[in-house]
Amino acid sequence: PFVPQTHSLQDLRQQAAVAAKVFIQRDYTNGTLCQFQTKFPSELETRIDKQQFEETVRTLNNLYAEAEKLGSQSYIEGCLACLTAYTIFLCMETHYEKVLKKIAKYIQEQNDKVYAPRGLLLTDPIERGLRVIEITIFEDRSLTQ
């Protein structure tokens, strides 16, 4: 029935108007770890399929879990930091920050490949204080022309 016109990301930002925004909230069932709900919002039903969306959110959840993982590496980093009076972070990046960079790249890639062609845009949760994943739904011009 409905075939969305393919947009490029640049195209999208230049010409499309914001139709709506969907916010994927945090999922606290496992405690205070940063995880997002994988429930598929109804507003996206016409734009993207459930599998694709769930896969994106699941990958993001895995990445955040990796950032906050309590393993020997994080403990060593913590102890080393304490011993150097936390000055070591002036020259070194924390593990968490490294993973956040990975997440930013992943989101960029997903936007370019999957979401922009469907008229959607993912916002990196770090820009929203890790509270929500904001998905901007752009008006589809093929509908209104």
Binding site: L12, R13, Q14, Q15, A16, A17, V18, A19, K21, F23, R26, Y28, T29, N30, G31, T32, C34, A67, E68, K69, L70, S74, Y75, E77, G78, C79, C82, A85, Y86, T94, H95, Y96, E97, L100, L121, T123, I126, E127, R128, G129, L130, R131, V132, E134, T136, E139, R141, T144, Q145
Partner: protein, 468 residues
């Protein structure tokens, strides 16, 4: 052309967030503004946003003063004697402890404790909608709590009216700093900052090292006075020879009780993965029977709890103090608005003007004062071109010759024509975000005629504000 029709703004989405209101009203400085400058909480920033402190610095100067003075007296008066009679390691250990204490204290005071940025207007509107759909037809403020299951235990999340979001678990709103802080422990006046997720380990190392330091100094001073009085003199004489020691003794004596007590208390909290806040409120104790441990965050293992709290990974500051405030604020469409001012548009005079955020244009018009200065033509493209996405700045003051950029000039296509659908689309996000902050409504009022056509329908909120 349907694409040009403006979509009605949901009035509930136009809650004025201090963030957008502040940065829109302050137009004096021309340079791009960093986010810390428009931060809504009660905090103070130093070193261009690198250091953060609560607005009420409390007794931090007193704390620092006490530590420095006591150690100074120690090194000046007790150490020479002790080095001669005991060992040279005494000042060495003392110095090491002193340095560690001061660094921990400064780290605790100047680190972001885990402040959560306030919800954007869109998010707040979305949450409101979700709450209200389950509410009644007449507006009755709902209780605003949400219950969730954490590790099979029911936890209530409260809605924060200031930050406009449901607080994550273990987050609390500090009234002194006016911020929601993650894993909020307490607001410490001695340190002049909240103690939360990101600086708890510094706070803990501060009190532990301070306990060691005060005990060390206390012990050394006692040893000093004892040694002096042993060498054939009475105690009174020994004290008279070294009066500074008495001062140190008194300070240390009173500090030790409180500091050691505090250290012990916090060691207990760390071992059971609790916060002061939870302990005081009794969130997890005495409620359930024998089955449940109570605290759903505890790993039920002292070592693990300690490791997690003190050595676990810590996210970077979520408030992004040193980032630049985007011209249209807040949503990704804002960055897309600036990206739309691409070079291939710069040739067109009118489109350039249209891609300005509405606020900037209005403000400039008001600032320039007289409408007679309207001089359309190429000069006004220059200031506009300067504002292209190289900076995320609000528009700089145009040179006087450009004056009023022809807003009320009939040649301005922005008001007279709606055929420039791209320009309108670029304005849409700006309109969505331009909450009815006071300056906007005022400038909207000062414009007559043509302006009204362009603006009034887009700000249903402003219509309300203007009513006497």
């Amino acid at each position: 052309m349907k694409n040009c029709e403006y979509q009605q703004i949901d009035p509930r989405a136009l809650s004025v967030s201090p963030l957008s209101a502040q940065s829109h009203t302050e137009k004096k400085d021309q340079r791009p503004r960093r986010k810390w400058e428009v931060f809504p909480g009660k905090n103070r920033f130093f070193c261009d946003g690198r250091l953060i402190l609560a607005r009420q610095s409390g007794v931090l100067p007193l704390t620092l003063g006490l530590i420095v003075v006591t150690c100074g007296l120690f090194f000046a008066f007790d150490c020479p004697f002790l080095v001669k009679h005991l060992t040279v390691f005494i000042p060495v250990i003392g110095a090491a402890l002193f340095v560690f204490v001061v660094i921990s204290l400064l780290r605790t005071s100047f680190t972001d404790p885990g402040i959560l940025p306030r919800a954007t207007p869109d998010e707040a509107a979305d949450i409101e909608r979700q709450i209200d759909t389950s509410g009644s037809s007449t507006y009755r403020p709902p209780p605003r709590t949400k219950e969730i299951l954490i590790n099979q235990q029911v936890v209530k999340l409260k809605y924060c009216f200031t930050c406009k979001m449901f607080r994550p678990p273990r987050t609390s709103h500090c009234s002194l700093c006016d911020n929601c802080v993650e894993r909020f422990d307490h607001h410490c006046p001695w340190v002049g900052n909240c103690v939360g997720k990101r600086n708890y380990r510094f706070f803990y190392s501060f009190i532990i090292s301070l306990s060691f330091l005060t005990s060390f100094i206390f012990g050394c001073v006692i040893a000093h006075i004892t040694l002096r009085s042993q060498a054939g003199k009475s105690l009174v004489q020994a004290i008279q020879e070294s009066p500074a020691s008495v001062v140190e003794l008194v300070i240390c004596f009173f500090s030790i009780w409180s500091i050691l007590g505090l250290s012990g208390f916090h060691t207990y909290l760390v071992a059971s993965n609790l916060t002061t806040n939870e302990d005081i409120k009794g969130s997890w104790s005495g409620k359930r029977g024998s089955e449940e441990s109570g605290n759903p965050y505890s790993y039920n293992n002292i070592i693990t709890n300690c490791c997690v709290t003190l050595c676990g990974p810590v996210p970077p500051s979520l408030i992004d103090r040193r980032g630049f405030v985007p011209p249209d604020e807040v949503i990704p469409a804002a960055s897309s608005a600036s990206e739309m001012e691409l070079p291939h548009f710069s040739a067109k005079n009118d489109v350039n003007m249209c891609t300005q955020s509405t606020k900037d244009v209005l403000e400039r018009m008001v600032n320039s004062g007289s409408q007679t200065l309207c001089s359309p033509g190429t000069p006004k493209t220059t200031p506009l071109v300067q504002e292209l996405p190289g900076t995320a700045a609000p528009s700089p003051e145009p040179p006087p010759s450009a004056g009023c950029p022809g807003l009320l000039d009939s040649r301005c296509p922005f008001f007279s024509r709606s055929s420039e659908k791209d320009s309108l689309h670029s304005i849409n996000p700006a309109f969505r975000l331009a909450s009815p902050s006071p300056s906007l409504t005022r400038t909207a009022v000062t414009l007559n005629g043509a302006a009204d056509v362009g603006f009034m329908p887009l700000h249903p909120g402003s219509a309300r504000d203007e009513a006497p």
